[in-house]
């Protein structure tokens, strides 16, 4: 068998972005022997390419760039002398009698690790041009915003001189500014929905400050160009996202940059056959961040796509704490855990999907409203005499996630989130 016997750890953290780093530190601080496994060369995850600021306002009470935020987390991690392997790719996870056997592939060969708990911190991935059914020619010059960001910020290569950005997700907005600063012309940002998908502060700082127009209810319907993008067609759409005849406009450009959404990267959850929540598109967890596989925890963007790295760190800490606790007192998934109830018409999603009254971890609930609403009250009923949480929000918008931490213990026989006037 490769590399002799499996090395033993309490907790294996898979992924070294902000979630994984926080999880590894927190599991370590709670007494677990931890190994952090990263598939890329360097730690930090996607933050490595985020040279813009706006990170850390919650966690560090400071305005940091993504790289600074990552470096703080990395420094803290290294200071604790936690084991780490990089350029190591998980190819197999086998449950074996209360433990997990994880196999990785790296330049060192095929390595095996035995652990009591696993924390999935594998982040998210971008939706592609194909997933939003862009048609026409297939030239070079169609990039997702994250790929364009990698080219510019990591490789120092310019992927465009004049581009159209489809989708108003945060990375798209950030890249509109970044490419403009690097001397490219950003003709406009086009969003199929009637509201921007990214944070308001990004609309203001990345588009408005640079006079980059945002066109709502407008989408790219065709790409032209044999070798390299030469132009794209944009059309306004109706409420059902169908193009409105007569609104077609052809825009000359050499690239189409897409920021059309992020999806949890669920290769590893799938490997473990974990149930996936169709709303979050990530694995189902209870308030300890444990998935339905006992000892497998998840945090950060693999659970649901967060809009702030700070929240990813928070969930990483929770997962680390829970995983360490699990190592000393293993438990199984509680089949009597209460499933979260909410109206899909009111909320885009909410999680954790289950509340286990027998678990000691306090509940942090994350949700997004489905619509842009004002003056609505959101109430969480956990079976106590009074609501576990109730707050009237001046405004709730789908692009901005809300988080609620419930400290008081409750029976948890009910677990219901409601939106009302």
């Amino acid at each position: 068998m490769p590399n002799s016997a499996a090395e033993k750890y309490d907790v294996l953290v898979l992924g070294a972005g902000p979630g994984g780093l926080a999880a590894a530190v927190s599991a370590h601080e709670n007494g677990a022997r931890v190994l952090l496994v990263e598939r890329e060369r360097k730690l930090g995850g996607i933050l490595k390419q985020c040279v813009h600021d706006g990170f850390g306002l919650m966690r560090f009470k400071e305005r940091l760039t993504g790289t600074e935020y990552a470096q703080r987390e990395i420094d803290r991690f290294h200071a604790l002398n936690i084991d780490v392997v990089t350029e190591s790719f998980v190819v197999d996870i086998q449950p074996t009698d209360g433990t997990y056997l994880v196999t990785t592939q790296s330049a060192a060969g095929m390595c095996r690790y035995e652990c009591k708990a696993i924390i999935l911190a594998c982040g998210c991935r971008e939706r592609t041009s194909r997933q939003v059914f862009i048609h026409g020619d297939r030239p070079a010059g169609i990039f997702s915003a994250g790929t364009a960001q990698y080219f510019v910020n990591i490789q120092g290569k310019m992927p465009t001189k004049k581009c159209v950005i489809l989708g108003s997700g945060d990375i798209g907005l950030i890249m509109a500014r970044r490419l403009t600063l690097e001397g490219a012309e950003v003709v406009g940002v086009y969003e199929i929905k009637d509201a921007p998908a990214g944070l308001s502060r990004n609309i203001s700082q990345c588009l408005n400050d640079f006079d980059i127009p945002l066109h709502l209810s407008t989408t790219v319907t065709e790409v032209f160009g044999q070798e390299r993008v030469e132009a794209v067609a944009v059309e306004q759409v109706d409420k059902n996202f169908q193009p409105i005849p007569g609104t077609r406009q052809v825009i000359d450009c050499d690239a189409l940059i897409l920021s059309v959404g992020l999806l949890p990267e669920i290769e590893l959850p799938n490997m473990l056959a974990l149930p996936i929540d169709p709303a979050t598109k990530g694995p189902v967890v209870d308030q300890t961040m444990m998935t339905k596989a006992a000892g497998v925890f998840a945090c950060g963007n693999v659970l649901h796509v967060n809009d702030l790295a700070d929240w990813v760190s928070v969930s990483g800490e929770a997962a680390g704490r829970s995983a360490a606790a699990y190592c000393t007192a293993p438990r199984t998934w509680n089949d009597n855990a209460t499933a979260l109830q909410y109206e899909r018409g009111d909320f885009l999603y909410a999680l954790p999907q289950y509340f286990d009254p027998t678990a000691s971890e306090p509940l942090t609930l994350y949700f997004r409203s489905r619509e842009d609403v004002a003056g609505k009250r959101v109430t969480l009923d956990l079976g106590g005499e009074k609501a576990a949480f109730s707050k009237k929000y001046r405004r709730l918008i789908p692009s901005e996630m809300e988080a609620v931490t419930v400290k008081e213990a409750a029976s948890g026989t009910v677990y219901q989130l409601t939106m009302h006037n």
């Binding site: 196999t103 026409g136 001397g183 799938n270």
Partner: protein
């Protein structure tokens, strides 16, 4: 015939052109032009040359490489193969069984750039072809050659059976006789399967399907991997491949081609093989042997995520009576050799020979038509889609023959579906014809090795085998493509192969980074890095003009280096 055609297609004039018939005139609808050609094809001439123009449409010129040099000037290969598709590459390998100087040229930046990488990868059993046609003959013969060929080339190949499904029991009764006749005539094993049996074979099959016919000799492979492997093997055996090379003209004296002019110099081959796909009529014309026309028949396909793969095990399509006599089966769904699902293709006539754009109407129609065959398939599983163009003649028949007019010209033309399945048999036949045309005594190539040297494919290896490969070369341990689990070593091997991958797409065709669900988002910058390390100066998606990066002075990334 003139009268008949003119009645239906006013203004069309036909004339004899050698033993072919030539159509001229102008029509306002491309479908009419194709229908007119098809009608003329039934008149008993050798072939139809359709020169009817479409009103208001100027056909775009063949796209040609910008490169100009003299790299091939005054070369005198024994055989010049024009076209680096699966046919041309199979012929190149076949001809190297003999002591011949073989040069293959293609105008694109890589082999397999047109139909050979734009099809469903199915090795048809042969049941879709009419009895008595070359398409049927070469299909059945080629199909039988695939097991050994793929072993030699180290190309993954599986004989996953093909199901022809029906929902109308009356059709089922009729098809039993019709397909039975073809099975017997071609010698294709196959049988009827009841609804119950179907349910066992394909547990997720839709309710409305009443039965079908199963053909166990059907197979699946990656058509571009096969084409690249054929080219690699040919080169390993001494053939030469010159890419970005386009034929611009030929000199013909009497009944022989004396010179072939290209953008890379003038060659003087002894024999020329026309394997130019959608441009095979253009090439024939350059040699003064224009006797047929290609009408480009386009098709669009979708690829579903691997998550959909396990839901069906076979290739299958629902057919009705109309489809049985049509020129194309109308596509279906098939599990690809890499574990995805391919949906489509459709088939429609249009005048452009190298337009690979996709269209919402076609992709939607393909999905609407076929996704419902298997419960669990849905649009959300689509990870990509693409288009290809079939090189169809009006006779809807392959042209596999030595030229009647030009002594040193051999045609492998009009190769459309089932061209992939037929390729090995066509190559064998073309090699025979070529030897005849070369004349004299030709010695066998004693050193010919049919086995291609293949780089390891990590994902297919056991843990122990992986360990060994990585111990030998640690680069095989470093995963670059997270969706498909492809290592840096595998990518580097593709860049160093006999026909080297020099673009992002060329790497993708050989070892798949970018074929997974991220569609290259994560891995394309890393693949670009490896290409640069290997000395590729300008990183392109698919050759000159498709540069990934831009710079103000025209040099990629120059102002950001």
């Amino acid at each position: 015939m003139q009268a008949k055609l003119e009645k239906k297609f006013p203004g069309v004039v036909c004339s004899a052109f050698g033993d072919s018939v030539r159509l001229e005139g102008e029509l306002t609808d491309w479908d009419e032009i194709v229908r007119c050609g098809k009608r003329a094809a039934k008149a008993g001439f050798r072939a139809v040359i359709n020169d009817i123009t479409l009103k208001g449409f100027v056909p775009p010129p063949m796209r040609t490489p910008a490169l100009q040099d003299n790299a091939l000037a005054e070369q005198t290969p024994d055989v010049l193969i024009i076209g680096g598709g699966v046919i041309g590459c199979a012929i190149a390998r076949e001809l190297r069984r003999w002591a011949l100087d073989v040069l293959l040229i293609d105008k694109e930046d890589d082999v397999a750039m047109h139909a050979s990488s734009r099809n469903d990868g199915m090795i048809h059993p042969g049941i879709a072809s009419h009895v008595g046609t070359l398409r049927g003959l070469y299909n059945v013969r080629g199909n039988a050659m695939y097991t050994q060929l793929c072993q030699e080339l180290h190309v993954p190949f599986e004989r996953w059976s093909n199901l022809i499904l029906y929902s109308d029991p009356i059709f089922g009764v009729g098809a039993r006789f019709y397909l039975g006749y073809r099975q017997k005539a071609f010698g294709i094993p196959g049988w009827h399967v009841s609804r119950r049996r179907l349910q066992e074979l394909e547990p997720n099959i839709a309710q409305g399907i009443r039965g079908g016919f199963e053909y166990p000799t059907s197979g699946m492979l990656s058509p571009y991997k096969l084409t690249v492997a054929l080219a690699d093997c040919a080169v390993e055996n001494g053939a030469r491949v010159s890419l970005n090379t386009v034929v611009t003209a030929m000199d013909v004296k009497g009944t022989a081609i004396t010179a072939v002019h290209t953008n890379r110099g003038t060659l003087r081959p002894r024999v020329v093989i026309n394997a130019a796909g959608c441009f095979s009529d253009t090439v024939a014309g350059m040699a003064g042997d224009r006797f047929f026309s290609i009408h480009p028949r386009k098709g669009e396909c979708c690829i579903l995520d691997k998550e959909a793969g396990p839901l069906s095990q076979r290739s299958m399509g629902l057919v009705g009576l109309a489809a049985m006599s049509a020129t194309s089966k109308g596509g279906g769904i098939m599990r690809t050799i890499d574990g995805n699902v391919l949906v489509g293709p459709d088939a429609y006539e249009q005048p452009l020979r190298e337009d690979f754009s996709t269209h919402k109407e076609h992709i939607d129609a393909v999905l609407d038509k076929h996704l419902k065959l298997i419960r669990g398939f849905h649009r959300g599983q689509v990870i990509t889609y693409f288009a290809g163009v079939r090189a169809a003649t009006y006779e809807e028949e392959f042209i596999v023959e030595g030229s009647a007019r030009v002594q040193n010209l051999v045609h492998a033309a009009g190769i459309q579906s089932p061209g992939l399945a037929s390729a090995p048999a066509i190559a064998e036949e073309i090699a025979k014809i070529t030897l005849g045309r070369l004349g004299g005594q030709i010695l066998p190539n004693e050193r010919f090795n049919p086995v291609r040297t293949a780089a390891p494919v990590l994902a297919k290896l056991s843990l122990e085998e992986k360990q060994k490969v990585i111990a030998d070369n640690p680069e095989y341990g470093v995963v670059v493509c997270r969706c498909e689990g492809i290592s840096r070593g595998e990518i580097r091997a593709a860049v160093q192969a006999p026909v080297p991958a020099t673009s992002i797409d060329a790497v993708k065709r050989r070892v798949r980074p970018g074929m997974g669900r991220c569609q290259g988002g994560f891995c394309s910058p890393l693949v670009a890095e490896i290409l640069a390390e290997e000395g590729v100066e300008t990183i392109t998606k698919k050759g000159a003009g498709s540069e990934l990066f831009v710079g103000t002075d025209g040099k990629e990334g120059a102002d950001h280096a």
